[in-house]
């Protein structure tokens, strides 16, 4: 455990993996769209953590940092659109249960 916390690469990757699995499980197990949405955000953040960790490991590579920033921006947009969709769906159908909105049709 000690070397995990010592600032080496493995620790960050482990956290990223953990975050990703938690996110995936949330998406798979929860049926509320909002929760699934949060799971997806977790998975994105897992990727972000991994990116930053590898960037630092490679000696301060700028690419990783830039990509991280871009993902944050895209995720923000995505969140806005996604939340709007969820609200719209709730208005139309009165539910945000993903399994009960299996059809795109009205």
């Amino acid at each position: 455990m000690a070397h995990l916390l010592s600032g080496g690469l493995q620790g960050y990757v482990a956290v990223a993996l953990l975050l990703f699995v938690i996110g995936l499980a949330t998406v798979l197990l929860r049926r509320t769209l909002l929760m699934q949405f949060m799971g997806m955000e977790l998975m994105l953040n897992a990727a972000n953590v991994a990116l930053l960790a590898f960037a630092r490991w490679r000696g301060g590579d700028v690419q990783g940092t830039v990509t991280y920033l871009m993902i944050i921006a895209v995720a923000a947009c995505e969140a806005a659109v996604g939340l709007a969709l969820v609200i719209g769906l709730h208005r139309m159908r009165g539910t945000t249960d993903a399994d009960r909105t299996a059809s795109l049709k009205q």
Binding site: L24, V27, A98, T101, A102, L104
Partner: protein
Amino acid sequence: MHSAWLIPVLPLLGFLLNLLFGKRAGKAFVSAAGVGSVALAFVLSVVAFKVMLAAPGHRLEIGYGEWMGAGAFSVPLGFVIDPLSGLMMLVITGIGFLIHLYSVGYMGEDKGYGRYFAYLNLFVFFMLLLVMGSSLPLLFVGWEGVGLCSYLLIGFDYDLPDDVPAQAGLKAFLYNRVGDLGVLMGMLALFAAFGTLTIGDILVKAGHLGPQLGFGLLTFATLMFFVGCTGKSAQLPLYLWLPDAMAGPTPVSALIHAATMVTSGVYLIVRMAPLFQLTPLTMDVIAWVGAATALFAATIAIVQTDIKKVLAYSTVSQLGYMFLGLGSAGFAAGFFHVFTHAWFKALLFLGAGSVIHALHHEQDLLKMGGLWKKMPVTGWTMLIATACIIGFPGTSGFASKDEILYLASLKSPVLYWMGVAGACCTAFYMLRLFTLAFLGEPRDAHAHEHAHESPATMTVPLVVLAIGALGATAFGWPAAFGGSFRIEAFLEPSVSYGAAAAEGVVRHGGNPALMAAISTALALGFAWWGWSSYKGGLALAEARAAKWPFLHRLLANKYFVDEGVDAALVRPLRWFGNLLWKLFDVIVIDGIGVNLPAALTRVSGDFIALLQTGRVRNYVLTMGLGALLLLYVFLK
């Protein structure tokens, strides 16, 4: 003579004026534009005729540049005025003028007065193009154009509930179109053969060729032209439209369906005479079809009761004589019959129109009778025309018909006797018509009471035509009776086109006087029989019809040819069209070719769509499993 274009354009101008302003401008304007334009065209035609006579070789060629062309194919826009076309122009504009004048009285009450004169003027325009055109395509413009006018004028009363005129117009157009295809194919063959469609160039080139004995391009072309003639000039087997065409107004029947349009087939053959002389096979076909038509149509005319139908079959029969003459190498004789027939048949139709007008559109011969006293001018002029058509000695019909029969006898005695038999029928039915209409007791007292002589605009043309019918003998009188066949020499520049007459065609010998005597004597006998059969009313005729019911039914129903065509051609074609549509388009192409693949696509799509549950978690799971699989593959 560069201004020759005015001759056809004047009637065209009349057409445009009447079409655009005819409805609003009133009758005086319509009559002035309609009759005036044709009158002016007649005056100009006379001038052109005189200039032509003074020209070297009796031939005027006027060109106005190129009309259409592409690649090696070029058609000039030009007119030719020579004895043949000059004479036709005089007939068209002269008789045309008289009939326009007559129409002022006859159609005076009609609501479509402006439309009527517009169509009639358009017809004169196309007919003039037909005879004046220097190239076959230009001739064809007129050829189809007169068919269009015929269609429009036959169906002039388009809104009648019984639909008869519209149907007759359609029939006329389609039968004519069959013939037009013949002309079209003939033109294609001639272009392939000569590389030009200018009539003069073709004839000059043809003049250097020998007779075409096999079935080559030229024989094909001339045969196809003759097919065109059977359509336009109502010969077997395409004659069926002409009797129905009588649904049109009577002056139209006189102008288009007796005097001018139907003779354009004869004109075409005379125009291309050097070519036809090269193809003996075609000449034989023409002669035999002509003779058969002359006899066949004359037998039908015997039992018709509609005065115009009798005259229509009579026209078909007379046209048969013309072709018999042409086929016997008597180009001048055949054309002379066109000329004389134009006078007396127009006169017969206008006379019949006068009777119909007087009886308030009663056309049934069986309801006429005793009109001689009431309508003296009509009666006398009709008598003159009847004498002409039965070939009474001294009349123009005698001169032209017996010349044809004489030439036919040189070709084959069978042709001669067919012609004589037709002449006997002609004499019988014409006297029957005259007797039923003018002599005896009135059979419909009411109609007879109201009958009256027609107004001057109608009787003046009758008298002029009667004078023309008698005076036409000035152009030709059989040499056997002390005359000379002047028209032959007159037409010579057009017919031979500079080349020597084809060899091997017998043009002399035999005994013309005897031939004429036989046919005339027999015809007069049948004329007497016709008169005596009907002078006492209908009893004798009815007894005969009862005695031979089968023959009477056969003739009265015109040998059931219309019904035969319907059953053998029209119905099968429609059936076949339906079959093609339902079988090919709907079942084979659309069903198997188009909708079946579409259905297969849909079914397979539906099958694969089973995987698409629409549940996001399923998709994510699949995605996750897929990612694991990839990880395994890459990291293995």
